[in-house]
Amino acid sequence: MQKTFQVPHTPIEQFSLSNGLRVVLNEDHSVPVVSVALYYDVGSRNERKGRTGFAHLFEHMMFQGSENVPKAAHFQYISNAGGTMNGTTSSERTNYFETLPANQLPLALWLESDRMRSLSVTQENLDNQRSAVQEEKRLRYDNQPYVNGFLRLFEMCFQNHANAHSTIGSMEDLDAATVDDIREFFRIYYAPNNAVLSVAGDFDQAETRRLIEKYFATIPSHPEPPPVDVSEPAEVGTKRDTFLDKLAPVPAFALGWKIPERRSPEFYSLSLASHLLFEGESARLYQKLVKGEESVVQIQGGIDERRGPSGLFIVVIPKPEHDCSQIRDAILTEIRELATQGPSDEEMEKLRNNLLNSSVRSRQSSLYRAQQLAEFALYDNDPELFNTDLDNYLKITAAQIRDSVVRHLDTDNRVLLEIVPAPEEAAPAAPLEAGVPGQSTAPPPQVPITPDEAAQAGPLPAQPQAEPAVEST
């Protein structure tokens, strides 16, 4: 059944400007569009206590105008040029991106360079965007079932505050942000030597290099930002906790583990192990619990991939009248099974084909290419990984998958969070602290209920396109 296959090579050019800005280019004339991505090496990992949510709040501020761009004109200029745009913040980085008709590349470079060099920070802009961020928090977290519970999960898993707190931050810290805080944040982190610019799509190499030099070369570098400590003890923080949720219609629970950092040998193995456990309908846990024992409404999992210690989570909505601890035992038994027997030959074939399909499918999008290239440049100083990293996954053996599960998943070193519907109380949503049950909201049924810590969405919700989407199936 196995057929030989090669993922097409993506041509990459890379260079740095004298101010330290790393640049990555991928020329592709398939479709007359171009995507531009700017990645800054700052995320929630860089936030200190009392200033959570800053990296994400700052991301909103980046759309509020710069020396030559009026407030909110960024949205206008991109839309009027026939483009789309957004930004996202995660624990690791803040990114900004736009996709435009190919001939509008200068517009993107002008906008990105102007805000890199001369962002306008005013009290009015700050107040306005603080409101928008607080509404985003209410929309995605406080007014939804289960989601705030997942934030508690991170607090339990990670002991280092840098890793444990949420990217959205707390209302109190957001309220406390001052204009001086924002200006200082800009000065420390928003510098060409702390950033990567990537361009993918239909452009001319020589012309593009000239434009990049023109717009970015005179932006001065800043001192290196302070290093951040994301180290963790091997142990999780709190092993077991209960979260009272006023908006959850039924109970749920989540299991969490710490796993080694991205691109470590075991991270590759654990990624593949997680796929076998909970991705798709042939996944072991889906077959066992949803189809076999019929004890679970939904089971989902995910990996929170970081440069430091990372996390692996499984989230379950059990059916009523099914014993949660029995469901948990079934999950741990499946993990034990994978730790003992390892994957089957069919499962290895599945992993291989899934990796190849994902690689090829995602490469269609110039935006995906621009983002991935920037990420490999930012984290690894090696954008060629876009072409070579797949091999690191493909060469993982069944034995390696088995051994990674033995060491990191088939272990007592894990957290269990039970989310319990709370009776109607008058208490408003309270900030979460270790051991204090707070409030949260129930998850929408068909939406993945894993925590969206991986990329806190930027200034704009993912919006349907201008043309009303034909209702998709």
Binding site: F75, G82, R130, Y215, K246, L355, N357, E467, T473
Partner: protein, 458 residues
């Protein structure tokens, strides 16, 4: 900071435009009426398939809302030669995807795969479409799980808003029904599922689309082998009671105590997908509320800070439609948000849009057009839409011309026809106790519902 160079002071001019080459579609019809569209695209070793039927949730029998959805789900839960598990394992062993879903107007069997496995996946598509067996144990499991998902839905504010709005705007028309109930789920049997499949999954009401790394002649021959014996049938009935006409504004509150936000949806009767007003509506919507540069966003978020996002939506389906304006706003500014919504809805009626706004909206729609067909999924979704709604075959080629032909007068005409704040239905999902005083000034008619959909006494 270094001195500002002169070239930074204004917008840079664009480079020379690059042409968009629309992919070529090869169109055919099999003897049994099955439509075929093939687009060869060898850029990547990938293929995407859509088998789409012009029958969806609206065709559910009157007594069985949700049947189409249930049938879609069960198609991949067992055939005459494969169990549910075998189907899942086979699809996923190829690294492929295979999913069936339905919307109001149509249903789709969708698959994507590396081109080396295209034949295997086409085989599976044929199997689930033609030989799904609806095993009893899978029906029972699906029924149970759906009942649990209904409970989850009711915890979701945007579901509650959609549910109430659909009831209000569509009345006895089948578009009013979003979900089954536990009772209707209990009434779904192998027998009525099979009958429904036989009457809706007919080749003469379907189109199979293929985009990707294929040889047209080879894939068409294979499709003929797999689907050629499929018998045509009678086209399903499309006669439904008309949606109610609105004559006055009314507010419908779905009480969600403790809600941190109010989900506001304001709607009027809209257009069908094939209406002659479609392109003017699209332009109007772009200016009013399509994206972050539009009036609703700039007002309610950028200026007032009430919300993370405020938008409009052209909900244009085969048989009827609505035009909506929406936002999720902080509870204490619910009334103030209504004020701003009505200000904008009246403004787009009363004043012609400016020449600049019109130019920019056209530039936006024209410009994002190639972005939407950059990937196989994007292109094939467009093809599905064109064939399912019987749009002209040159739709993609003439799209930008139709956009550019719209005038400010056209926009004001459709605004006055379809944006009618004094007759709008206003649905708000939020904390009734917190918002009732705020919303009172905006309508004489205020109805309150609980999250189960039951009307409460005022």
């Amino acid at each position: 900071m270094t001195e500002t160079e002169a070239f930074r002071r204004q917008l840079p001019p664009p480079l020379a435009p690059r042409p968009l080459n629309l992919p070529e579609q090869s169109v055919a019809t099999l003897a049994n009426g099955l439509g075929l569209v093939v687009v060869e695209d060898k850029r990547l070793p990938l293929v995407s398939f859509r088998l789409a039927f012009r029958a969806g949730d609206a065709n559910d029998p009157q007594s069985l809302p949700g049947l189409s959805d249930m049938m879609s789900h069960l198609l991949t839960e067992g055939t005459t030669t494969r169990t549910s598990r075998q189907i899942a394992e086979e699809v996923e062993r190829f690294g492929a995807t295979l999913a069936v879903g339905s919307s109001s107007d149509f249903s789709t069997v969708a698959a994507s795969t590396l081109s080396v496995y295209a034949d295997e996946i086409l085989n599976l598509m044929a199997d689930v479409t033609l030989a799904a067996s609806f095993p009893q144990n899978e029906i029972d499991l699906a029924r149970d799980n759906t009942k649990q998902l209904l409970i989850q839905q009711r915890a979701q504010p945007n579901f509650l808003a959609s549910e109430r709005m659909s009831q209000v705007m569509f009345g006895r028309h089948p578009y009013s029904r979003l979900s089954p109930t536990p009772e209707t789920l209990d009434a779904m049997t192998r027998d009525n599922l099979s009958k429904f499949r036989a009457s809706t999954y007919i080749p003469n009401n379907a189109v199979l689309m293929v985009v990707g790394d294929v040889e047209r002649a080879v894939v068409v021959e294979r499709i003929e082998e797999l689907f050629g014996d499929w018998q045509p049938g009678t086209l399903p009935d499309q006669n439904f009671p008309a949606p109610p006409k609105r004559s006055a504004r009314a507010i419908y509150v779905v009480d969600r105590p403790g809600s941190a936000q109010s989900n506001i949806v304001i709607a009027n009767e809209g257009i069908t997908r094939t209406s002659a007003d479609y392109f003017p509506m699209l332009l109007m919507h772009t200016i009013l509320g399509a994206n972050a540069s539009s009036r609703l966003f700039m007002n309610l978020r950028e200026e007032k800070g009430y919300t993370y996002g405020a938008y409009s939506n052209v909900d244009a389906r085969r048989l009827a439609g609505t035009f909506r304006a929406t936002a999720e706003v902080r509870t204490p500014v619910t009334g103030a948000s209504l004020h701003e919504f009505f200000y904008e809805l009246n403004r787009i009626r009363d004043e012609a849009v400016s020449a600049d706004e019109l130019k920019n909206a056209k530039a936006y729609l024209s410009g994002v057009f190639p972005i939407r067909i950059e990937t196989q999924d994007g292109l094939i979704d467009q093809l599905v839409s064109i064939r399912m709604y019987d749009l002209p075959s040159d739709y993609l080629r003439t799209y930008r011309d139709r956009i550019n032909a719209v005038s400010a007068e056209d926009i004001q005409r459709v605004a006055q026809k379809y944006v009618r704040p004094n007759e709008a239905a206003v649905v708000i999902v939020g904390d009734a106790e917190e918002i009732s005083a705020q919303v009172k000034p905006y309508s004489d008619t205020i109805e309150i519902y609980d999250t189960e959909g039951r009307k409460k006494n005022a």
